[in-house]
């Protein structure tokens, strides 16, 4: 039977990571995600499952420990908040280039710079358009509840290993700090060295007796080979776009207007839909669950039905660019957001819909 608990999003993620049979967590504290490391240290997973929990000397060290662990075929994870995730970008680019599975959690706070410790969604570009250098993509999952903070730990690893790619969970201070009811999966056993060797034939698990040495690297000085490697990566990203798009809709069947929002903004927009419908405005909501691959098709279809779309994000307007690409000029698309750590209220969203889309 599943276990029911009241937990913060950060704690639910940490507990789910232990239960997913993860081998190692490497992190460095930063608000509003410090509960992840705090919870892991308190739980002593090294006693429960043998999982390593390590507070690294910096974010850069932590992501490189993840790189090393992943190269050995281990299930490894790191977490941070916006400024710390910026520090990890070089490592993330290397992990993507070296085609290794890894899980990264970003509990976003307001920026730029050290910014604020309050919730924000201003890291969308960084997450979905390549925060580090080079042509790469991450699978980006956007949880909107504490339950999803737990569920996406398992899903994240499934996808990371399926595609040999780093997966980013893009959360924010609201989802990380909020407590909700969460059902936890039973403990999955950590894989043995033999199982890792069998499941990850690419991993550096020791020099093979037969066959070539395994080398994990993101460096290729022969440009012809590097181009082939890039093509392989692009083919993989295309496959993700074909197979891994996830989203959900609320009240879109008869909608004249559409809100598009992810994460905590999607929760606020659900309430905004209820308020607007009481006022007689037929509005629905589409919530992207994967930000890459983006639900372009679904938004494109709804654009043929509705008169206008409001993209809501706690930023100055980042995701709205992907909404506009999907809509391709067919209907009006506007952005509404608050930033700097201010969370918009449902009433503000309704007002923005009325002024920017319906009356605009």
């Amino acid at each position: 039977m599943k276990e029911l608990k009241l937990m913060k999003g950060n704690e639910a993620f940490a507990e789910a990571v232990i239960r997913a049979g993860v081998d190692g967590y490497f992190g460095y504290p930063i608000t509003p995600q410090s509960e992840v490391l705090e919870y892991l240290m308190a739980q002593k997973p090294y006693e429960r499952t043998g999982m390593v929990v390590l507070q690294a000397e910096s974010e850069v060290a932590a992501i490189n420990m993840v790189y090393g662990g992943a190269a050995c075929g281990k299930k490894v994870v790191t977490s941070s908040s916006s400024p710390g995730i910026s520090l990890k970008q070089e490592g993330i680019s290397y992990i993507a280039g070296a085609e290794l599975p890894a899980l990264i959690l970003n509990v976003v706070r307001g920026g730029p710079g050290l910014g604020t410790i309050q919730p924000s969604q201003s890291d969308y570009f960084q997450s979905t358009k390549g925060g580090g250098h080079g042509d790469y993509r991450l699978i980006v999952l956007a949880p909107a509840s504490v339950q999803e903070m737990a569920d996406f730990a398992g899903l994240g690893f499934d996808l990371a290993f399926k595609y040999r790619t780093p997966v980013l969970i893009l959360s924010d201070g609201v989802i990380g700090q909020m407590m909700e009811k969460v059902e936890l999966n039973p403990q999955v056993k950590r894989r043995s060295d033999e199982e890792v060797a069998a499941e990850c034939p690419w991993a550096t698990t020791g020099r093979p007796k037969n066959g070539p040495r395994r080398i994990i690297t993101s460096l290729e000085l022969d440009s012809a080979k590097q181009e082939i490697h890039n093509m392989k990566l692009q083919a993989k990203y295309k496959e993700m776009q074909e197979n891994e798009v996830r989203f959900e809709t609320f009240d879109t069947e008869d909608a004249d207007y559409l809100l598009v929002a992810y994460g905590s903004s999607a929760r606020i927009c659900q309430k905004a839909v209820q308020i607007a419908r009481k006022k007689g405005i037929k509005v629905g909501l589409l919530r992207p669950i994967t930000l890459f691959p983006y639900p372009t098709e679904a938004i494109s279809k709804l654009a043929s039905q509705v008169k206008g779309i409001l993209s809501v994000e706690m930023s100055a307007g980042q995701m709205v660019e992907d909404v506009r690409l999907a809509v391709n000029g067919r209907v009006k698309v506007e952005h509404f957001g608050r930033y700097g750590g201010i969370v918009p209220t449902p009433d503000e969203v309704v007002k923005a819909l009325e002024t920017k889309i319906i009356g605009g």
């Binding site: 009241l6 309050q118 609201v174 909020m178 407590m179 929760r267 927009c269 918009p344 209220t345 009433d347």
Partner: protein
């Protein structure tokens, strides 16, 4: 049923843990719950507030600007949240330390002398449970047996011996809440 509550006061008054016990009590009777704290550089003596939502349905926004009930435990919170009560809603407060009392006429206003009662009971720590009791008199949204279960779940085992005292404090709150 959906009940949207803000609990606001000083850090150290037990605002967050009161919300947590209420949320756990909701879980004990199979409700959906959300607990969203203000977080940040606040600490003991600073302001602290938490939004608690209990519902029979999936909860939408944990961020709200209007509440069915506001439980207000200091002056700054009164200044901030009196206006956030929905028309027809409830404002419950402890008058201890309040210099500007609530003045709205479109909501129901109740008082609970919880700080005073906690001192009389000999344990300042029971303050938040007295307030919780007062709230449950006005809005009996969770059963007493579930409050006790919620307490058991949310308190670490080493504090379980204090559960009877906490339940007594809840009963005290039920008794002493008064309409203004």
């Amino acid at each position: 049923m959906t009940e949207e509550i803000i609990i606001a006061g000083f850090g150290g008054q037990g605002v967050l843990s009161m919300g947590k016990i209420l949320a756990y009590s909701g879980i004990m009777q199979d409700q959906e719950v959300a607990w969203m704290p203000s977080y940040g550089p606040e600490m003991r003596g600073g302001t602290a507030n938490v939004t608690v939502i209990l519902s029979d349905e999936r909860i939408s926004s944990p961020i709200l600007n209007q509440f069915d009930t506001a439980i207000i435990l200091n002056q700054q919170s009164m200044d901030k949240f009196e206006k956030a009560v929905k028309p027809g809603g409830i404002l419950l407060y402890d008058p201890n330390g309040i210099t500007r009392h609530p003045s709205r006429t479109d909501i129901s206003i109740y008082r609970v002398q919880a700080a005073e009662a906690a001192t009389a009971m000999g344990s300042a720590k029971t303050f938040n449970m007295i307030v919780l009791g007062a709230f449950l008199k006005l809005k009996p949204i969770v059963k007493m047996e579930n409050v006790e279960k919620g307490l058991t779940k949310s308190l670490p085992a080493r504090h379980h011996k204090s559960i009877p005292m906490n339940m007594e404090a809840v009963a005290k709150g039920l008794e002493i809440v008064e309409k203004v």
